[in-house]
Symmetry: C2
């Protein structure tokens, strides 16, 4: 198909498609003349994946490219772990470590100690999520919410069950390409789904505890 | 204290503080001369809260202002529900409903039906998280991941337990101001904490299932 049809079938405007081609997040079509190229279903699929990462996942295009480069690389075939690492770094690149490096480091050690020794988690020290979580806890302390960390520790075993569901999803993939894509989709769309469910769970729990308060948003 | 000391004690540069004052997310200090104002501990506290929402929560300043206006308003005193709604809309304003309005609407109905009838959740139809979740599910279908919705339904009862912890946290607040702030802090910092814990849970579960794969990131 021509670029106009690719645009029509995906709903992505032609200038945006050209931008994605220039930025290397969409592979070039098969050139049929100096000014024209032909695209196929793989382009439709990739374009939708890019849109999901940008629009639902809120990722900058540089991050999208970094992840797709890894999905496309031959040597990633045996290395889901590496892809998971890239996706993790991409998602947490916006969370800065706390300015107080000493408290940040001490809190990272405390968190790792808790998750490993109390919950028995296998946890590599260079997992970028550790720094992100420590930054959250130290920031909460700064705000006078030092007790928030106790509630984060209550989250941990609950979220442990989410990790089980996540690995079940990746395991359902029929082939390796789909498995890699499942990591990307499950992480990007899954994050948004989980935060949305958290809002609904809060609303539900609020209604359950305070049945006498009129919940204005109730139908 | 003068603005220079406010900057020193919070680590926020003076030009940024002036910007926040102009944007109305930080209340003005007490004017002591035409060119000088005096600030107090409430400014330190508010400044840290703004930074947490911007840097950890990744919120645009317009969203921060909208939330703080509600926290400061007198009539919100009895209306945690309204504040929760504002925070929810703020967080999900970046998730667009799916372009196919018919599928989006049908999926919203399906999700609400499941959560209400299978899980017994109290769920108002205008909760913005419903639209965000439906958008995720329809986008996953577009990507050939139609089965992802089954896994989202497996997340739901797990995340239900997160809602219980969240309401416990809000309930520990000693006064109403702190309760309102707990909603903001718990939502903003809590989202980041939950996603960070999800990454660690995935790593842990991956290591548990595939003990023979060398996990490169392991120490």
């Amino acid at each position: 198909m021509r670029i106009a049809e690719l645009s029509r079938r995906t709903g992505v405007p032609v200038p945006t498609i050209k931008y994605y081609l220039r930025e290397g997040v969409l592979p070039p079509g098969e050139r049929t003349s100096p000014n024209q190229a032909r695209y196929d279903d793989t382009h439709i699929h990739r374009l939708r994946l890019v849109r999901a990462m940008v629009e639902v996942g809120g990722m900058p295009l540089a991050t999208v490219r970094e992840i797709l480069d890894q999905v496309d690389a031959d040597d990633v075939q045996s290395d889901i772990d590496k892809l998971l690492g890239t996706v993790q770094r991409a998602v947490f690149s916006t969370v800065q470590p706390h300015a107080d490096a000493e408290r940040q480091t001490a809190k990272e050690a405390e968190i790792v100690d808790y998750l490993r020794n109390e919950l028995g988690w296998h946890l590599p020290l260079n997992n970028p999520a550790i720094a992100a979580l420590a930054s959250v806890v130290v920031t909460a302390e700064d705000l006078g919410h030092a007790r928030f960390v106790e509630f984060i520790y209550r989250y941990a075993p609950i979220i442990g069950e989410i990790g089980v569901v996540d690995l079940d999803y990746v395991a359902t993939a029929q082939d390796l390409d789909f498995m890699l894509e499942s990591v990307v989709v499950g992480t990007t769309l899954g994050d948004t789904a989980i935060l949305a469910l958290r809002r609904m769970a809060q609303t539900n729990e609020s209604a359950r505890r305070f049945p006498n308060i009129r919940h204005r948003t109730f139908d």
